[in-house]
Subunit: 195 residues, 2 copies
Amino acid sequence: MPIRRGRPRSDAAHQAILDAARELLIEVGFTRLKLEHVAARAGVGKATIYRRWPSKESLALDLLLELTSPYIAIPDLGSTRDELETLVGSIIRALTMTPLGPVMRALLSQFAGNPAIGDPFRATVVRARREEVARVMARGVARGDLRPDADVEIATELLVGPIYFRLMFGGDLSPRLGPQLVETLLAGYAVAVER
Amino acid sequence: MPIRRGRPRSDAAHQAILDAARELLIEVGFTRLKLEHVAARAGVGKATIYRRWPSKESLALDLLLELTSPYIAIPDLGSTRDELETLVGSIIRALTMTPLGPVMRALLSQFAGNPAIGDPFRATVVRARREEVARVMARGVARGDLRPDADVEIATELLVGPIYFRLMFGGDLSPRLGPQLVETLLAGYAVAVER
DNA sequence: TTGGATACGGAACGCTGCGTATCATAACGC
DNA sequence: GCGTTATGATACGCAGCGTTCCGTATCCAA
């Protein structure tokens, strides 16, 4: 571990850059986000940004991971429905009540075509979501609430896919959506059949 | 209706531009799509492109609408499950077996933040999908297969959302996915309950 | 047949923004 | 103090968008 010599990097500048970038990303989106403007708003030289992040994409990715990191595990609530609604509700809330929504919207563009952003995001956030759904569902099966053959991956995508679908293609992200999705996932739309 | 005078626009050039743009969009994605390269591959001057499309975005949008237009209504198959599987399967097939997948992937970026692309797409493709699901479900309710209170919008997003989720965030888009989604939407994951 | 109008492929241009380089200066460890 | 590294500022090269011009080609109408 080498000793750091010379002038240390400014934490204040670091944070000012992240704050300015988040604000501007929300205001104008990823494509129209200009690092010159980020530097200006942060009161920082452009080189100071490039000393920390190699590209605009990686700066944006750090923003995204910073916003998705406050991840709260769902405790055992005794009710599978309650746990699923809590899980889905927290996702919807994060997307509508925090800067995550606009930032995610601005970066949706990059996931599919830009592995530098997409791969780390998949490896962390998407993976964490899947695992949390898996934990909740395992409890549900143990509890006797869920069918033992319920598929975790399908369930995750049925719960989260519609949310991102609306984030992408428009549609209300109201808190009502969560219980609707959970209800349908649990009960299905077929008329009662013997199982 | 004014009479067109002078040299008419070349249909060959028009098609060559669309073909070249589709190929390059698939090869390199939207961001790295350069109109200079499109013009070069199409054997066309750049001005000829700008005479037809005001921007890169609108050209890409035309490509997308061209690829999504071969839309086939689902006939009455007598079985709601079969109709839903046919519907979902045709979406998956279009995304995996035709250029639509790469093109859609390349343009996903633009939907959320670029109303010039997002709004027309929502007004046409998304709307058509919803209406087709609505027709199928109406038949299912009439047939007694589906609960009368089934929500068309939720159903559409439960069927289509996961597909686009995988298109965006990775995951197999195998033909098996369709029946899995339909099965879950119909039956749900809860253990049998009286209704 | 001829002339006006429009489109063609090709080339050059201005502009913007990314990422790099270079400055004099500031803040740290020794 | 002295060497080292970071800072804010500014200038720069480069790439790509969208525009403009050119000489030529193709249509319609007179």
